[in-house]
Amino acid sequence: MANRDLLSHSFRIAWKDVVELYRNKFGLVLLIVMPIFMMGMVGFIYPSNTNSGNNLPVGVVNLDGGNSNSTLASQAFISVLQQINTKTSMFKLTTLSSESALKDSIQRGDLEGGIIIPSNFSASLLSGKQGTVTIMTDTSNPQVSATIQTLLSAVFNEMSTGMAQQKVMALDPTIGSNGAIAIVQPLKVVTQGIVPGSSNYFEFVAPGIMAMTVMMSVMTGLPGAISQEKEVGTMDGMMVAPISRLSIILGKTLAQTARGLLQGVILMILAVTLFGVTIQGNILLVFGLMLLGVFSFVGLGIVLTSITSDQQTATMLMTTIMFPMMFLSGVFFPIQQMPWYMQDVSRMLPLSYATDALRKVVVLGAGIPDIATDLTILISFGIVMTAIAVPVFRRAMTR
């Protein structure tokens, strides 16, 4: 009986909040636009195939004087580079006359990087020495710089291997091209994931963003919902009713959860339709995890809201906590990349476990037994925080 009352009172409070939200058209629009922005931003910034450049403007400076008698080795080098590029269109190649002209162009931002072939290139190769090629990049932009380095190194490596292969074949014609490549590069690496298809950064990030958005929605929504009612005075209207204080918390939470889930669903639809994320696991489990994430957070949200005096402070406090949490919980970067002490901090945040579990379900198709640890931690965190939240809330409201 008492439990039934608790739930029915919470539902009434949640209903009231949802009606208010629904009638606030501007707020409703923002609520829907936010996840679209979020997913759109991340989806387009991190393209699905991260290791391919897309017509990156790169300059080529050929300083090779060569040997007037023979075809310049540098010219052959450039034509092979152009052949590869025509197939992949990774770069937009521009020929420049000098190293300083290349530097100027990079500084002006016309080019993202360049290749410099030194004057002794042909001579070195012909005299049996190594030929040196310099890659110049815009180091103020590490992301592009790294991409160019990776791509060019791969291209040069391939060309270098080809040249070595031909030389080996010239030494011993009987060996054949396959034999030659085995001598030049005895090891070949093939990468294979545990689920079909190639993975990309977006698939890594999408589940984390879903977990984060749902929780952020609750964390920022709660101070608004509770502090505002406290300030306006309507909270008194609920407090003078003979209902359990827990049902007020539950009702507020239910409404916030509905709000968060709406955003979560929008995110999921966008991730699947626009950015080709496939949900490998059970979709109900995905929803269940988002709900559990909310549950684990609510207590914390209530405590923080209760200890602050007004809405503004509550929102500020929440933002202060949300930001580090976003970056420390492995939403954008794998936790394993962090230094050990940061990993320890990360292990104390419920968002880490929600992100981890959601990622396993979405990307790897994990089931409940696979994420049992995450589930246990999230449930315990939620129970402990809610147990703390109810008395703190009661005290704060009857100051």
Partner: protein, 351 residues
């Protein structure tokens, strides 16, 4: 107001004690909002708490309606302790807060339905009661309009009927006429009187307007700085002045000067002086020669007396007499918390 009558769930029997407050104290940090207050309110009585803002009136009401916990002392309503038996108390009381307890984005009916449903009133009973209450305050026409579009007077009427949803035996009214135009104030006062007369509801009303206290209350407790300085019926309180040797004089001096006011105040038989407007002084004085000495003093400072009359003391005079300062002296200290409307929410009305 309409002719519909309200029926309280429990008929009031006899004129026993309804509210008992004993040595009640409430501190916020170092600030003592309520300092050792005791009083008893009888069944079906209208009891007024009169005092300036910040005197601790609202805090007393919040403690009695379980919205705040006392730091020390006890309070009970209908025999139930407000701390230990809070849910029993909540079923007995209704509070009309200074803040409007309603949601702008819900209609009048939805608001009442929401708050009423928290009291576990059966659906059809609640529906009927909402219709009756809206009829009672003439809001039936706006039943399905958003409360955000209501005028202040309409909102205050909503605020009052919201507190009546659970048919409380005790109703607390915190500054019910604050910020209302005279017409709406009269309506609210008449409504409260009628409610008390028809249903025998015990009512505690806080106010800093003398008219409210004078017209509504059977007994009045005068509160200043968290202490009860006097507690009696309005006429008995006034007798504190007129019953003794004191009289209240209204003097019209067209050429008033600050020096003149101070000169009169300094007279031995003058208890207090307050300036009503640019030409009128209100003086509480005692003794047979009061008239003469006041006239002498006014003339000494070059004042011309246009008229001088012996008037009936008001509650305002009583307050001045008891506390040495006027009610409105400290009435503006509390800055009302403006509702935070947020981004794009500046408009008062909701589209």
């Amino acid at each position: 107001m309409s002719k519909t009558t309200l029926v309280a769930p429990v008929t009031v029997q006899g004129r026993g004690e309804m509210i008992r407050v004993e040595h009640l104290k409430k501190k916020f940090g170092d600030f003592e909002a309520v300092g050792d207050i005791s009083f008893v309110v009888n069944k079906a009585e209208v009891f007024g708490l009169l005092g300036p803002n910040g005197a601790g009136k609202s805090t007393i009401l919040r403690i009695l309606s379980t919205l705040a916990r006392p730091t020390d002392g006890t309070a009970s309503i209908g025999g139930y302790d407000v701390v230990k038996q809070d849910n029993e108390v909540r079923r007995l009381v209704g509070i009309v807060s200074e803040k409007m307890i309603m949601y702008d984005r819900l209609t009048a009916k939805e608001n009442l339905w929401f708050f009423g449903s928290l009291f576990d009133i059966p659906a059809d009973t609640l529906n009927q009661r909402i219709d009756e209450l809206l009829e009672l305050v003439q809001l039936t026409k706006w039943k399905n309009s958003l409360v955000g579009t209501f005028s202040t007077g309409m909102r205050q009427r909503m605020n009052v009927v919201r507190a009546l949803l659970n048919m409380p035996q005790v109703l607390f009214l915190d500054e019910p006429t604050l910020g209302l135009d005279p017409q709406s104030s009269v309506e609210i006062r008449e409504f409260v009187k009628k409610l008390n007369r028809d249903t025998g509801t015990t009512i505690i009303v806080t106010t800093h307007t003398m008219v409210d206290a004078d017209m509504l209350c059977d007994r009045i407790g005068i509160i200043d700085h968290g202490k009860v300085v006097a507690l009696d019926t309005s006429s008995n309180l006034k007798r504190l002045i007129s019953g003794t040797n004191n009289m209240v004089l209204k003097v019209d001096v067209p050429n008033l000067s600050p020096a003149l006011v101070e000169g009169v105040r300094a007279l031995g038989n003058v208890k207090s002086v307050s300036q009503e407007d640019s030409t009128h002084l209100k003086i509480i004085a005692s003794g047979d020669d009061a008239f003469d000495s006041i006239i002498d003093a006014v003339r000494k400072y070059g004042g011309k007396i246009a008229s001088m009359e012996n008037v009936q003391p008001t509650l305002e005079d009583v307050f001045l007499h008891l506390t040495g300062h006027e009610v409105r002296d400290s009435a503006d200290q509390k800055i009302p918390l403006e509702r935070h409307r947020g981004f794009m929410g500046g408009a008062r009305r909701i589209r």
